[in-house]
Subunit: 232 residues, 2 copies
Amino acid sequence: MITGRLIGVGVGPGDPELITVKAIKAIRSVPVVAYISANGRPSLARQIAAEHIGGSSKEIKVTLPMHPSPEVAQSAYDEGASRISAELEQGKDTAVLCEGDPLFYGSFGHLLGRLHGRYPAEIVPGVSSVMAAAAAAEQPLAFGAEGISVLPATMPENVLSARLETADTAVILKLGRHIEKVRTVLETLGLVDRAIYIERASTSGEKLVPLAELDSVETPYFSLILVTRQRR
Amino acid sequence: MITGRLIGVGVGPGDPELITVKAIKAIRSVPVVAYISANGRPSLARQIAAEHIGGSSKEIKVTLPMHPSPEVAQSAYDEGASRISAELEQGKDTAVLCEGDPLFYGSFGHLLGRLHGRYPAEIVPGVSSVMAAAAAAEQPLAFGAEGISVLPATMPENVLSARLETADTAVILKLGRHIEKVRTVLETLGLVDRAIYIERASTSGEKLVPLAELDSVETPYFSLILVTRQRR
């Protein structure tokens, strides 16, 4: 029996038109689609791709509870990988829908780590939230010999500060309840005036505001801060 | 007279199916498409998008000579911006086709800098070569609190070395004739065994090889090195 292929499909940052032709073809061609539903919310990736999922496709929802401990998260990925594996064993190609790009901080990496090597894998890269945020800000991420540092706000404060100090352009992800820590670090480094806050880029809920004018003390998961060292 | 819109359109990393629905719609809807032809080669962005360009569309080719001096490059962008501006003044929306993403090291940034504020602008983000390379390597770029450092090989050696030393995952772009410098830095840092060389990701000319096994002394522009600190 030939096993199915595991296909990680990036569906883009939110705007359903920012999906690629290749992703649409992959989603339409498979008998099984899987996706992750975290924090009790419906899967954004499924919402983005909804119009391309066939009515006869089987759907596998991998559920992560609110604020899971590492052990609970690992066990949810174990169970998800096992359910996907059962389909692959039956020769059914399975597309895992991923917001943005599958390998850019996606939960897909956790499933791939469990299934890689056992089944043929394919990745369909997608437009990430970073590119959508830069597009919303109409702000080049980098030119010439400048570097770009992608930094999760979940980093320890001293690490975040050291990395920001040497960054040309920085993109700070996963803000959530870390927004005040990030703001403090940027203030200390004198970078607040170069920082733009962008929420839900490319969607109808898109919000873009200079960090200095942001009054939130908690921000959604799909938000980021773009810091440019050079004025454009 | 209402001026036209300047639309920066990311057409993806090379595989014509890695273009987004939004990019296709933008290209089909405009009377004028522009693109950059560098180093005497045809525009890759135009090749990727070819099937979507209408027969009646006007095309503007902005030509950069081989290895232009900064002055020559600036003057080529000046002239390109001026030709695009002439179309926008006539109310014609103009799509600038960009490989990968328009704002990720693209020449589009140079045109945007010259036209921004004078005309309404829109950016259609695209799948970048970084995401395509990770997909080819089937290698997650980052998990959790790890950072990603995007580093052009054109950086001075000491800067490149310092940035690599603190990076979790590093993506080294613009290799060209800098490949030996990069190799030396990675050897000194003991990172060669974590480095994968990827050329023309997502295209029929895709090549993927551990850096330790690469024998080229010069590499094409569309190549990069992916270095992961953690074994996956």
